[in-house]
């Protein structure tokens, strides 16, 4: 009985703790979730049209680097703001360009899709590491910095209940702020427009889609390129909105956590966003526990967990979620299957 009582008390304390730190936690959660959500959207768009892309990690890293490089090269001449804006644009373009490569490999060449993605990840690691050592490190200069995040007026931020929610979505840089709109737009586009119907048709039954006159190759190219542009935006977020610097391999597995978020969200944009928020929360918890130390027995337990375990939490959670969710969710039927038009070979 006593054990149950203690347990209930601990859960109660955890609840109270979470509620008290939530207002501080919310903006961090969205910021941490943004690259994951954008990467997951890339996965959704790719796999809904039937193309597996495990190269999201690499595309993010490349875009992060070239976006940063643009800001790094131009901020003396153009000033911080415009060079960051241009950097974001370049990052998105780099993402789209790598999307062309991935689409060519998977759709036209019909190369193995997992290997194509692996190649992308290794190439990104090599190219960014190479140029980082060659160009950025020896210069000893910094980049263009980050765009100052927006701040809501205090009157709005201090509103009860809605205040913290508004702060979560609006005390952000431009990329994180636009994320919600991107998610909603893609959700509608995928399920309410002709483009979305075609995308899903090509991903579920390409032959049937071909029969009714949909160009399967064109549709897959379009989706892969568009999706990878979002992965590029995720990269831009990392270097131009979140940290303002570049480190080798800084994506740190985010591209793969994004895939888990995609699977968690059952290949829908809103679901993927929810998955990304979940991972964002797991990461944020580790940050907040260190800054705002919880009190009481619970605090004792939470503080006794080494910080490395909190840092590993998102990775471990990805595994648990994959193990728990995968069996019960169904991917698009033609996912990962190259399409061969009849009469072609």
């Amino acid at each position: 009985m006593e054990v149950v009582g203690t347990l209930v008390r601990l859960i109660w304390e955890l609840g109270v703790y979470l509620v008290t730190v939530l207002p501080d936690l919310l903006p961090i959660i969205l910021a941490l979730a943004t690259p994951l959500a954008l990467g997951a959207l890339c996965g959704v768009l790719n796999e809904r049209s039937g193309v597996v892309n495990i190269g999201i990690e690499g595309i993010m890293l490349m875009a992060a680097f070239f976006g940063y490089l643009t800001g790094f090269a131009l901020h003396d001449a153009m000033g911080s703001g415009p060079s960051i804006a241009l950097g974001i644009l370049i990052a998105v373009l780099v993402g789209a360009l790598l999307g062309v490569l991935h689409a060519w490999l998977t759709v036209s060449v019909r190369a193995d899709q997992i290997i194509a993605g692996t190649m992308m990840n290794i190439a990104a690691f090599g190219v960014t590491g190479y140029l980082n050592r060659l160009v950025i490190t020896p210069s000893g200069r910094g980049g263009a910095g980050v765009i100052t995040p927006f701040h809501l007026p205090d009157q709005i931020a201090n509103l009860p209940l809605v205040g913290p929610i508004l702060v979560m979505f609006f005390d952000q840089g431009p990329i994180a702020m636009s994320l919600v709109f991107i998610v909603i737009a893609l959700q509608l586009a995928l399920f309410r427009t002709r483009w979305g119907l075609r995308t899903r048709a090509v991903g579920e039954h390409p032959k049937a889609a071909d029969t009714v006159g949909i160009d399967v190759y064109r549709q897959r190219y379009l989706n892969v390129i568009l999706g990878c542009a979002f992965a590029g935006l995720a990269g831009a977020f990392l270097t131009l909105e979140s940290t303002g610097s570049f480190q080798n391999g800084m994506t740190n597995g985010r591209g793969f956590i994004a895939l888990a978020a995609m699977i968690f969200g059952r290949w829908t944009p809103i679901g993927a966003f929810a998955g990304a928020l979940l991972f964002g929360t797991a990461t944020a918890l580790g940050v907040v526990v260190a800054v705002r130390v919880p009190e009481g027995d619970l605090g004792g337990i939470m503080r006794s967990i080494p910080s490395y375990w909190y840092a590993a939490l998102p990775y471990l959670m990805t595994i648990v979620i994959l193990a728990g969710v995968v069996g019960r969710s169904t991917p698009p039927a033609a996912d990962g299957v190259p399409y061969v038009k009849e009469g072609k070979g």
Binding site: M120, A123, Y130, Y308, A323, G336
Partner: protein, 380 residues
């Protein structure tokens, strides 16, 4: 004579695309080196690739020491390549070699330090076994999860790589930190170090790795388990109808794959590094994937591919010192080799060759289990 020619043609059939892919990768990387030289203080240098590749070659084969360095660098790649290749055979893609390598290295370091004072035979054997078992345990987790729940190993193994780095850092800091050092590390391995056979650094792990090549080949070709692994990789459904146990084989293969990766970590730890400290990096992880693909997941092919990549890793530092071309160019070359193997039509068009496709047929199973898609289309 004609028999000899037939054999030569057979070898060319299998090896031509990989070899030409490497040639093409070096050509493209040369373009990268020349173009990027524009951004360096010395400016545009059209002959830089020749100097860089010359130093790469000199650093890898130019002297006895260089050759020794190549062999030492190749040893973990042989085992890592076998780990990835064995997974491929069963239709599994173990990207977790990096993590299993670290766990193996850590286990070997801890046990090695505990047995530092015992006779060499005891320490070496037990520490090596500990490393292999550590890797096996770490490979079992994604294998079991794949078999039981369908969680795809491509994501779970990557996540375990990241988790391993963090949790091993914690373990070195809080659990097994050796006293008397200014930074967190494990104790000296003393007698547990692998014996040096030749020169300064050619250690016992190198012949061990080569022996493992033949052991893996024997298991795959001559044993029931090997037959089941290959059948599951070719067609899991057919394997199930034939009364085999794909679930068991999946978990077992990942465990064995982890064991090989852990062994790679163990020999690197006991033969080269000597102690575990946070931040020891494992380029072995990515390298092993390239090695397995280049060797077409065939043990003998992997042996040659590993020596090649070992040469790159051994020669790269000299290249960077002498010509300022960053060592990361090796990663670029690696990615290009994989690109040209995956899109072999580029190689065919450029060199106008007809040869066997370099694809590993079991890879179709890897993609298939990712998405649960129906049978992959056969490009005819």
């Amino acid at each position: 004579m004609s028999r000899l020619r037939a054999v030569a043609r057979q070898i060319w059939q299998v090896a031509s695309i990989p070899l030409l892919a490497i040639v093409l990768a070096f050509v493209v990387a040369a373009v990268v080196i020349v173009v990027s030289s524009v951004f360096t203080p010395t400016g545009f240098e059209p002959l830089l690739p020749i100097a860089a590749y010359g130093n790469l070659l000199a650093g890898a084969f130019g002297s006895g020491t260089a050759i020794a360095n190549t062999l030492v660098a190749a040893a973990p790649l042989i085992l890592g390549g076998l780990a990835v290749g064995l997974g491929f055979k069963a239709g599994l893609f173990n990207i977790g070699v990096a993590g299993q390598f670290l766990v193996g290295a850590f286990a070997a370091a801890v046990v090695g330090a505990k047995l530092a004072e015992t006779p060499a035979a005891v320490g070496v054997v037990l520490a090596t076994v500990a490393g292999a078992l550590g890797g096996a345990a770490f490979g079992f987790i994604p294998g079991f999860l794949k078999a039981r729940t369908g969680a795809h190993e491509v994501v779970t193994t990557i996540m375990l790589n990241n988790a391993a780095v963090l949790l091993l850092t914690w373990a070195v800091n809080d659990l097994v930190r050796a006293p008397g050092f200014s930074f967190p590390r494990t104790g000296d391995i003393g007698n547990s170090a692998l014996p040096i056979l030749l020169g300064r650094n050619v250690h016992l792990g190198i012949p061990l790795a080569v022996l493992t090549v033949f052991a893996v080949r024997w298991v795959l070709d001559r044993t029931t388990i090997g037959f089941e692994i290959r059948t599951v990789g070719q067609n899991p459904n057919a394997a199930r109808y034939a009364g085999m146990r794909p679930v068991f084989i999946t978990a077992l293969t990942m465990t064995l794959s982890g064991l090989l990766a852990g062994l790679a970590g163990a020999i690197q730890m006991l033969g080269v590094i000597g102690f575990y400290a946070p931040g020891i990096t494992a380029s072995v992880g990515f390298d092993s994937i390239a090695v397995a693909l280049l060797g077409r997941s065939d043990p003998i092919g992997i042996l040659f591919a590993a020596i090649l990549f070992g040469a790159f890793r051994a020669g790269a530092p000299l290249m960077q010192i002498e010509t300022s071309v960053p060592i990361e160019v090796i990663d670029i070359i690696q990615a290009l080799v994989i690109l040209f193997l995956a899109a072999d039509l580029i190689v065919r068009r450029v060199f106008r060759v007809r040869a066997a496709k370099p694809v590993i047929s079991e890879l179709a199973t890897v993609t298939q289990t990712w998405a649960g898609g129906t049978s992959p289309a056969e490009p005819s």
